[in-house]
């Protein structure tokens, strides 16, 4: 089998993979758990029973990090949402989700027969979500005598990388007495997110998206008052309800040993991201879509100049990814030149400058050829 060396021999700009890059400490612990059933040493009984000291400590650490009272492991965020939806909702209920929500939110609801209603966003160029968007839809639904059973709020969306100010939205939800789910897949783990302080009721997180943990692992965190409502994994007669298996939990546990260093770097990550955006826009023909300044590392650019240059090339849209790969830069969707979604999270300043220079040279050469 081919060894994976793309993180060592290339600079990877794929924003989906940026927050999942592991560190030496995590990988070396994982190596010692690579035997089949190795993790059996760490727990007793069924997959739903974790009695040993280490596991208790892991729950304690996660609850402390996320400001939750109870945490449930799942394979990922969509399974965490499913766990919540099937616990507190029933077929025919309606939930209100933000206009930037990932498709998996709707998917998790629809597979349970739950209706989904979505807010608008502020439109071009920022595409932001705020309390006004939610209130508009709540009032529209009220005219039809419908009250959403749950508000879903994507704290950072996977398209624009916008960070939503959640305070006003949770206040609004309290006003209408609707519980709130915070989807923090792209944020919690990169930095601290505290459910209790947020005013929301539930949080879903992703180990492989934002904690630098090997996949796939996510989870649902809840406050005390909801604990009895969650139908957890004790009923193992439903196979799809089983939680993620232990090796992934070991990976998340291992990643927590360096989480403080990771969180400490967040401010610098944003500084680097905003520097990169400014330099890229200065090249001309490249514009940021979404919030400005950036409050998250996921960047979406409109790139008409790259599209124009590609049109003159033999490889057309594939020219961009090919040329960048020759310079050791990967992670762009091959064939895509009109827009570009990237992240420089975890790169050094030197690497970030190298990436910018790569684009600058490519555009300079391309302009000469137009």
């Amino acid at each position: 089998m081919k060894l994976r060396d793309i993180q060592e021999d290339y600079i990877n700009l794929n924003p989906l993979q940026a927050g999942g890059r592991s560190v030496a400490e995590t990988r070396s612990i994982m190596t010692s758990y690579s035997d089949g059933y190795a993790s059996y040493d760490m727990y007793s009984g069924s997959f739903s029973q974790f009695f040993k000291k280490e596991t208790a400590l892991l729950y304690e650490q996660l609850n402390e990090f996320l400001g939750t009272d109870k945490f449930y492991f799942t394979h990922g965020v969509r399974e965490a949402k499913t766990l919540l939806f099937r616990s507190i909702l029933k077929a025919g209920d309606l939930i209100l989700i933000d206009g930037n929500a990932h498709f998996s939110t709707g998917m998790a609801a629809e597979r349970l027969g739950i209706d989904v209603f979505s807010t608008e966003n502020s439109g071009t160029p920022n595409f932001e979500i705020n309390a006004h968007h939610y209130e508009t839809e709540i009032k529209k639904l009220a005219k039809r005598n419908i009250k959403p059973k749950l508000l879903v709020l994507t704290q950072v969306d996977g398209n624009y990388g916008n960070l939503v100010d959640i305070g006003e939205i949770t206040l609004l939800a309290h006003k209408y007495n609707i519980p709130v789910l915070l989807n923090s897949a792209y944020l919690a783990g990169r930095t601290r997110v505290n459910l209790r302080e947020s005013g929301a009721d539930f949080i879903v997180i992703s180990g492989h998206k934002s904690f630098g943990a090997p996949g796939h692992i996510g989870g649902l965190g809840v406050l005390d008052k909801w604990e009895k409502s969650i139908k957890d994994y004790s009923d193992e007669s439903k196979p799809w309800d089983l939680p993620t298996r232990y090796p992934a939990i070991v990976g998340l546990y291992a990643s927590l040993s360096t989480i403080d260093d990771r969180v400490d770097r967040w401010r610098e990550e944003l500084e680097k991201t905003n520097w990169f955006v400014e330099k890229m826009e200065s090249l001309g023909g490249i514009n940021l879509l979404g919030q400005r300044p950036k409050r998250h590392d996921l960047i979406l650019f409109n790139t008409p100049i790259l599209d124009k240059i590609s049109a003159k090339k033999r490889k057309k849209g594939y020219f961009l990814a090919t040329k960048l790969k020759e310079r050791g830069i990967i992670g762009l969707r091959p064939g895509q030149t009109r827009q570009m979604r990237v992240s420089i999270y975890g790169l050094t300043w030197k690497q970030t400058k190298y990436v910018y220079e790569g684009f600058a040279n490519l555009i300079k050469e391309g302009r000469n050829g137009i």
């Binding site: 060592e8 021999d9 400490e25 070396s28 190596t31 690497q351």
Partner: protein
């Protein structure tokens, strides 16, 4: 009881993974600056010490 040789083996893995992190931080060309060369040298020294412990088993 912890076996020193086994623990050394695990620590070697960690040292190697730290070198891997250094490669990640210096991708794509691994052209090391002064600080990075010093860092790599320290890891290699640590590895030599760790190899020394295991070599003791062959005597």
């Amino acid at each position: 009881m912890k076996n020193t040789k086994t623990q050394t083996l695990f620590l070697m893995t960690e040292t190697l993974e730290k070198i891997r992190d250094l490669f990640r931080r210096t991708a794509p060309y691994h052209d090391l600056g002064k600080a990075e060369r010093k860092e790599l040298k320290a890891y290699l020294e640590t590895l030599k010490e760790q190899i020394g412990i295991l070599e003791g088993m062959t005597e």
